[in-house]
Symmetry: C2
Subunit: 276 residues, 2 copies
């Protein structure tokens, strides 16, 4: 990556102060945004989540117009790319106490679009259950903050390239999400996804899928889902802003079909993506 | 702070790549070390904890000789300062998966020594109970990693300068630690401190105090301590590498005396500090 693909507070540079609280404490938030045809997709949804995260952490709201201008400048030659947007509480000295006068740092990075086999979206992916259990923290649940060691440790549990994702449960054995995705399940034509009030990241695509399902008259339920319930599910799928929807064809040794509701929601999501 | 007070991978610079996983995920560890008379104090204990943290997170062990040489170079003119040592998993692209070939980043920063009123150590400090409850994560408990949003949010709960520290409990109401310190309690001449296998940071000074107490024949107990037990404690004190020992004279409205065991341990710790 060269400096042409990174902006730090509007400057073309790929370096950051070693006093930034994003480094010192993971004191910030990020968004991972698909760029298609020079346009960051679902921008307003990503911006809204970022703003909710800033409110939750007490970080001053970034200037939305400035972010949009900088994102457009960075993406102006990008047919297909990933825009990563990071907001930190800014630089500080030592000590956890936030300085209310500190100016947040904004970092925009353009990354290559990952290349996945086309059949991930069609015939589905294999997944596994991770050993690591997610900790509860309602104060941090739902937002996409920079404290991601749980995801790093969970993703380090396997290196079999045939396994595309690891599913995480909390300390009481409730399913929460994948390391890089949210998870949905279908049972008796009802769409289920775990509640994320105690841990987990409430993905932009997760929110959109719930909306699209409700608009289509599909029954939805956001609730605690015990790992033991997985055996009775008709369909399972993953989602995030880059993969869209991936059917899950296996969790460990247990196989699942690529189901009708999964395919239907994938079609809705693709149509919606075309809308921008 | 100027570049003369920071080394990044041995280079005098205060800037870091925006692709460093320390920023992206808080994927790293740190140590905060007191520097007295040009010497980083309790170096071998800090190094050992850093090494344990690297082993736990699967980060390649830093070269201990190199760290010591760089620390000595940075501290060579420092009568009294704070050395902050950060190790991250190094730079990477997007994605949580650690690259086993990535070279860790080492950052050494020299900071001014904080100035606290002298009576903190003598007549003690006021503390409060924080609202935020710490999440459980045995995989991360004990080590001093860079995911510190819990501490940041807890420290943001108050700005009354008369309150020096906030005490944190876990989700089940067990006392864990302070935002920047470990906590000890005395009851019936037994020294108590919370176990830190599910959350919290096992401080270097905490470990040393337990050793010094045991050497002096003081009975010690590391166990779960319910918040309700605080009412029955004879003495309470805080510790870390910079403050040494601070007696706690109040937790919220409840007052505590500066007790004999606290004073005795503070004397032991001061003697030990002189040893280096």
């Amino acid at each position: 990556m060269n400096t042409g693909t990174t902006l730090v507070n509007g400057m073309a540079t790929d370096s950051l102060s070693t006093l930034d609280r994003g480094l010192l404490y993971g004191d910030g938030l990020f968004e991972t945004i698909a760029v298609h045809n020079r346009t960051p997709r679902r921008w307003s949804r990503h911006l809204a989540r970022l703003q909710r995260g800033c409110a939750r952490l007490g970080i001053a709201q970034p200037d939305a117009g400035l972010l949009e201008t900088e994102a457009a400048a960075l993406c102006r030659d990008a047919q297909r790319a990933v825009l990563k947007l990071i907001i930190t509480r800014g630089t500080g000295g030592r000590g956890y106490r936030p300085d209310p006068a500190a100016a947040p740092t904004r970092i925009l990075q353009l990354h290559p679009y990952p290349s996945w086999p086309a059949d991930c979206a069609l015939t589905g992916v294999r997944t596994r259950l991770c050993e690591l259990r997610m900790g509860y923290n309602p104060a941090l649940a739902g937002i996409k903050h920079l404290n991601r060691l749980e995801q790093v440790l969970a993703r380090a549990e396997w290196d079999d390239p045939a396994v595309s994702e690891g599913l995480l449960q909390d300390q009481h054995g409730y399913l929460i999400e994948g390391t890089m995705s949210n998870v949905f399940l279908v049972r008796d034509n009802t769409l289920l996804t775990p509640g994320l009030t105690r841990c987990g990241v409430a993905g932009v695509t997760r929110g959109l899928i719930l909306e699209l399902a409700q608009q289509a008259g599909i029954e939805t339920s956001v609730r605690n889902i015990a790992i033991g319930e997985l055996t009775g599910m008709d369909e399972v799928f993953l989602c995030n802003s880059l993969i869209g929807i991936w059917p899950v064809n296996a969790i460990g040794d247990r196989q699942y079909p690529v189901g009708k509701l999964t395919q239907q929601l994938r079609a809705f999501l693709t149509d919606d993506m075309d809308k921008g």
